[in-house]
């Protein structure tokens, strides 16, 4: 219970201050969440869903807690939770897994968050972008909270961008993030998470999605550079004919650690889910993917597809893959596939024969491999941007993006 202790003490010290800065709906669940965290502590690797990431060690350093609120550009659909235009009590902390220690810690420590709210039949034409810059002179812990509510027939695109900044070498950052997504009937959400931080950053993100009848949700999680990342995504398809796409791509090098853990629960009939995660691992990076598709007894006519393809490009990279199916209904079509392999020597040979240097040939192959995920992104500007970034990343000339439309 070493790592936990400092957070328990921290909470006891600052909870009054947090409560003052926060709002009533958030305070209402705060103490209960803290009790859960205090009772459970951090999840250890003995827990099936945390098998591949050492959480207590990641939380062990002494971080200061940031109580700064997000700066929000006035826009039509984005608000701070404390100034929400709607009653958030039916949504806030309702689908987040209360038994998850990281969610509990986030709920206890977060003082404000961002609300994306699109009323009935409205469409936010412009993508809503949330940037998170990690820079400063002290090691900091950030607790981020995001609530996305799309009412019936609403549409939105949300981009969450995590970026590293300039900071001294001995400074590190830790982010916890809890995102709750409510998609009411016939709504449509595209949610992108792009991580471009550096090796001093740890990120624990828990995304919870609730998709109702005829809604469709697309979630893309893209990890370009990072330190330690653990992304959890739980999606519940609760209404008939809901559609879900969970895609992800990961580029790992040096000592990066990337762990994606997903659960798709089909609670209603005739829903469809697709999942595609691709990893390219170099250096001595560690990648993990665990995805479970759970089909309830009544969720007949489910179609579900899960694919995880991985490329280990160095002898010291390590990949764990765990695609799981748990199915209680009989009229379903569920597939999963997973591969871990090397680059196609025949394809490399073909290119070299035609005068393409080996390094470039390898880069082209890796690019094409990632293309499988990026091509599916409907937002053109983001897709183009990502292609450039991925290429730069593979070429090793990755810089913090300059003149990038997205980040400005």
């Amino acid at each position: 219970m070493k790592s936990e202790q400092q957070y328990i003490e921290l909470y006891n010290e600052v909870n009054q201050l947090i409560k003052q800065k926060s709002c009533e709906p958030m305070n209402a669940v705060r103490d209960a969440a803290f009790q859960v965290f205090r009772a459970q502590g951090f999840p250890t690797q003995k827990l099936e869903r945390y098998k591949y990431t050492d959480v207590p060690t990641a939380f062990a350093p002494n971080y200061g807690i940031s109580l700064n609120s997000a700066a929000i550009n006035p826009s039509q659909y984005i608000y701070s939770i404390s100034a929400a235009p709607i009653d958030i009590r039916p949504y806030y902390n309702k689908i987040a897994d209360a038994a998850d220690s990281i969610t509990a810690l986030n709920t206890a420590l977060v003082h404000d968050g961002i609300l994306v709210y699109v009323p009935k039949n409205e469409n936010s034409d412009v993508p809503i972008q949330i940037d998170n810059h990690l820079s400063g002179n002290i090691s900091t812990m950030l607790n981020r909270r995001l609530l996305i509510v799309l009412e019936q027939g609403a549409q939105a695109t949300v981009i969450i961008n995590d970026k590293g900044g300039v900071h001294p070498d001995d400074i590190s950052f830790l982010t916890t993030q809890v995102v709750e997504v409510f998609c009411q009937p016939n709504s449509h959400l595209d949610l992108y998470e792009v991580e471009e931080t550096d090796k001093s950053c740890s990120r624990f993100s828990n995304v919870y999605i609730r998709a109702e009848r005829d809604s469709s949700v697309r979630h893309n999680s893209i990890t370009l550079t990072n330190g330690l990342t653990r992304n959890l995504c739980d999606a519940y398809l609760v209404g008939e004919n809901a559609q879900l796409t969970l895609n992800g791509c990961v580029i790992g090098s040096e000592s990066q650690h990337i762990d994606n853990n997903t659960l798709i629960r089909h609670c209603a009939p005739q829903c469809q889910s697709d999942q595609l995660y691709k990893y390219v691992l170099d250096g001595h990076s560690v990648g993990a993917f665990a995805g479970k598709i759970l089909v309830d007894k009544d969720a007949q006519k489910t179609t579900s597809q899960e694919t995880n393809a991985n490329l280990c490009a160095s002898p010291t990279a390590r990949m764990y893959s765990q695609p799981m199916l748990e199915i209680y209904a009989d009229d379903v079509k569920c597939n999963h596939g997973s591969t871990v392999g090397v680059m196609d020597e025949a394809a490399l040979f073909y290119m070299r024969q035609r005068g393409i240097p080996e390094a470039e040939a390898r880069m082209l192959l890796k690019n094409a491999f990632m293309g499988g995920v990026i091509d599916q992104i409907p937002l053109r500007s983001l897709r183009d941007r990502l292609y450039v970034k991925i290429e730069k990343r593979f070429l090793g000339e990755y810089e913090k993006c300059e003149a990038c439309r997205l980040c400005k």
């Binding site: 764990y320 199915i327 597939n335 997973s338 090397v342």
Partner: protein
């Protein structure tokens, strides 16, 4: 419709074919488990001190452990003190030395289709028949020994070939491996011991038939197969148990050692009593099976057809240490009524250019739960390792579940690991096609299932394949309608 219901009813009522009990005098030691019981079992078998010490160490380790609960099954609480750990149906009331087998026992095995007289046996199969804790008879022993092959019960092997047994026992599955392996190591009774000398091709199939008969006992057999350089053996295992309302515990260990250029083929048709349609009774099948491919270019193939047992918890595994070694795992697991199976394999690639194949077919019906759980690990030095896994599940009925839990752990960039799985129900088009041609739905399902499982059934030795096919259709009868 009425006719169909009649048929379904008759099938549902159909009893487990091997559910009879044998009335034979059986010497059963008192229930309970403690160090004295371990010593008693060891003394009854006249074991040397090193083996007693091995058992005691295992027992002392076992009591420090907790029963694992990670499998996707609902294991009823097991009272380890309510089980008798040794039952000997061959013990006569008074005289010590026994010459002939009790005719009742002979009859039992005849009824099970395992004749113990060599002239009656199918040529080409040598049988070791084990009832409860004791091996009743091993056939064709003499003929095999001409070639230097040792095939006998493990107790006999401990007496006759102590050095061989000591060299290999517990080296593949150490007693600290898991909870049930520790329990087995402490109280194991008969199983088979096979040793194939160098450059020998075993001229016949070796087979062991396990039967649980006595009440409130468990079977804890231990099998050890050693295949020396350049040799080949095909080994079959079959098992049945009487119908009882209580659960019976079966916690076995199978260890296989494969040396340079040797090949072992291990086939199982598991048909322990699965419990009745309400889920009462049945065997709890909690076994540890593992092969160690120590030699270069060695080969091991596991083939299993799992139709019985209330709970199956079984992962026949391979450790591929030898360079160029190859391992295969073929499995068909059928669950019906309230059966629960959590089965699969582990392939641990250590040597270079090792290859493994996993083909698993799960079929669930009734209210059963059927899970595949497998691990493929490629360690750092396993250059050029190759694995292909394919796990398909077929769902018959809307009350059952089919699950797949594969784990892949790759630490080498020259390895290629592939996994794919599908879950679906029987294709309506296929059924319709059969119906159209005058094949009843029941029969059509049988045909389709057999076709579906063909990849695995083809890997079984002839006699077994026929039996397995029959079993498959019997296990699934009454699931359509």
């Amino acid at each position: 419709m009425a006719e169909k219901n009649e048929y379904v009813k008759s099938v549902v009522k159909k009893e487990y074919e091997y559910g009879f009990t044998t009335d034979v005098h059986t010497e059963i030691i008192d229930k309970g488990l403690n160090e004295d019981v371990v010593r008693l079992i060891s003394a009854k078998k006249g074991e040397p001190d090193w083996l007693l010490q091995f058992r005691l160490e295992a027992y002392r380790y076992w009591i420090t452990q907790q029963q694992p609960s990670w499998a996707h099954v609902t294991l009823p609480p097991i009272d380890y003190q309510a089980i008798s750990y040794y039952a000997d149906p061959t013990a006569r009331k008074k005289d010590g030395e026994q010459k002939e087998i009790d005719p009742e026992l002979m009859k039992t095995f005849d009824k099970l289709g395992i004749p113990l007289e060599e002239r009656l046996a199918l040529s080409g199969t040598a049988v070791d028949a084990v009832m409860d804790s004791v091996s009743v008879k091993t056939t064709f022993k003499e003929k095999l020994s001409e070639k230097g092959i040792i095939f006998c019960s493990i107790s006999e092997a401990v007496r006759e070939y102590p050095e061989l047994v000591r060299q290999y026992l517990g080296t593949v599955v150490p007693y600290r491996d898991n909870y049930f392996a520790a329990l087995n190591s402490a109280v194991f009774s008969d199983g088979s011991f096979v040793y194939i000398p160098k450059n020998t091709r075993c001229p016949m199939e070796l087979s062991t038939y396990f039967r649980i008969n006595a009440m409130n006992t468990g079977q804890f057999e231990r099998t050890l197969i050693v295949c020396d350089e350049g040799s080949y053996v095909s080994y079959l295992e079959g098992c049945t148990a009487p119908m009882r309302d209580e659960n019976q515990l079966h916690a076995a260990i199978v260890e296989i050692v494969v040396l340079d250029n040797a090949e072992v083929k291990y086939s199982t048709v598991q048909n322990w009593y699965p419990g009745d349609s309400e889920g009462r009774g049945g065997v709890l099948n909690l076994v540890t099976k593992r092969g160690h491919l120590r030699g270069v270019n060695s080969k091991l193939s596991w083939t299993q057809v799992e139709t019985g047992s209330a709970i199956t918890w079984k992962y026949p595994s391979c450790v591929l240490s030898g360079d160029g070694s190859q391992a295969e795992f073929y499995s068909v697991a059928v669950t019906n009524n309230h059966q629960e199976a959590d089965t699969g394999t582990k392939m641990i690639h250590i040597g270079k250019n090792t290859k493994s194949t996993i083909i698993s077919k799960g079929i669930s019906a009734g209210r059963s739960q059927n899970s595949y759980r497998g691990l493929v690990r490629v360690t750092k030095n396993a250059d050029g390792a190759r694995n292909y896994s394919s796990c398909d599940s077929l769902l018959l009925g809307n009350q059952c579940g089919a699950h797949t839990f594969p784990y892949m752990d790759v630490q080498n960039n020259t390895a290629t690991v592939e996994h794919e799985a599908t879950t679906s129900k029987i294709n309506e088009d296929q059924l319709f096609y059969c119906n159209q041609r005058g094949i009843s739905t029941e029969e059509a399902v049988g045909l389709i299932v057999n076709g579906y499982a063909k990849d695995v059934l083809n890997k079984l030795p002839m006699e077994f394949a026929v039996e397995a096919q029959k079993l498959l259709s019997v296990s699934l009868e009454g699931t359509v309608g």
